[in-house]
Amino acid sequence: MNDYQYDNGTVKGFIVSSIFWGVVGIIVGLWISIQMWSPAWNIPPYFTFGRLRVVHTNGLALGLGVGAIFGICYYITMRLTKRPLLFPRLARFHLYLFNAAITLAALSLFAGMNQSLEYAELEWPLDIGVVVLWVIFAVNIFGTIIKRKEEQMYISLWFILATVVTVAVLYIVNNLAVPASLFKSYSIFAGVNSANVQWWYGHNAVGFIFTTPILAMFYYFLPKSTGLPIYSHRLSIVAFWSLVFAYLWTGAHHLVYTPLPDWIQTLGIAFTIFLIAPSWGSVVNGFYTVGADWSQMRNNYLTKFFILGITFYGLQTIQGPTQGLRIVSQLIHYTDWVPGHVHMGTMGWVTMTVAASIYYIIPKIYNTEIHSVKVANAHFYLVLTGQLIFSITMWFTGIQQGALWKATNPDGTLKYTFMEGLIKNYPFWQMRTVGGLIFTVGMLFFIYNIYMTVRKGKALAASSI
């Protein structure tokens, strides 16, 4: 009995830490969105766009994303295996080490230490730290699943296992480097090889940080919070195996029209388009599940989060593969369309699903109810509005940018200078900051709601003793 309480404490620790790093990451995100249209907001040397941007991406992907994944995966694994974690003290140490690593990561990025590989910026000593963190996570997840008290393995456990295995492989391979000093190293890959490995890594970081663990949460918390069983278990399993099989081939779609050999690009694009099917397997499964009782969308505040989340996942997994096609890539690649695409995934699908999972977990751990459904609803509509403004403004300006860059005079010279294209972005970039502000206010509602629920739960626990 006490084991669960101790493990719940670890889960709670990860959730609180991830929210903390989320706040840091979102504030920095707002800041750099302003820097895009007002250069005066750059404060050298530590607070320039080049440094803040990596603090934003790492803070949210590693701090908010991976932090929440660690905590919520522990929570799900314990419940599906019907036992406490195999190594509870190791999990607690994992929590402390996680926060120490993220703190050092943020400081090193502010200091300008950077491997210059996107999403793999951290220098080699921190890479070793990340690997240690991941090994601890793997040992606990695998150990708990091997010693499970429930023979059947629900789909969420498969998604968690895929996350643990794949991220380990990706992270180690792309970070292989020869150290030159404590703060500087050189990648063992160069040129086209480096680009190919980097985008195999970069794309699958999206696949195995922003997709598989989030699907584990979706498949677990959707039936838990609605009381509706998943429509088809077989569909979830077929979608799982085809997703993990196809994902690892797709990275080359980031390198369309580059010196990467044509056949690798083509193979990457073919697998990318195929990926629509397994992704939509989960989308269809989610819709059919709630299709058994659509009134849940009105009566149960959590259903909205999960269904809108999976809808954005569905939109993302059509938009993304389409972008991989040569004909589309030549228009929108390197434009602001791309951050628009990414943020529909992170702000729409990932953050919504993670927030809803946390709304479910915190009252359960404290044996109480959520502080306010009204505040949760306000949070929902604010983050939805903010995210839509972000994505839509970036679609517009991305297509505009691409068209301006491609426009040529009859003699082949460029029709527009770079500056002319840049100036046309400003109104959209300013609107994006407004969208970001609305999203941030929504997240503050979320944090307030969680804080008040924890307070209520603590008071309840104190009075029952």
């Binding site: 669960y4 419940r79 278990h233 569909l235 099917a277 044996n367």
Partner: protein
């Protein structure tokens, strides 16, 4: 205290547990066929297409 141990029965619908929607199966197999077509058509050593040739053709127009 764990107040929500899971009963797997409650997670999986009974009548539809083994169903794969036909529309989804069409999508699944359709995209595999399309992938084969695309790979054959745009791989230089199979179809003769190449990025270089496609580019030269586009500027000749």
């Amino acid at each position: 205290m764990i107040n929500d141990t899971d009963n797997l029965e409650a997670f999986e619908a009974k009548e539809t547990v083994n169903k794969l929607p036909v529309s989804w199966l069409i999508l699944f197999w359709g995209l595999i066929l399309w992938g084969i077509y695309y790979f054959v058509s745009y791989t230089p050593s199979i179809s003769g297409w190449s990025q270089e040739k496609a580019y030269e053709e586009s500027i000749r127009k």
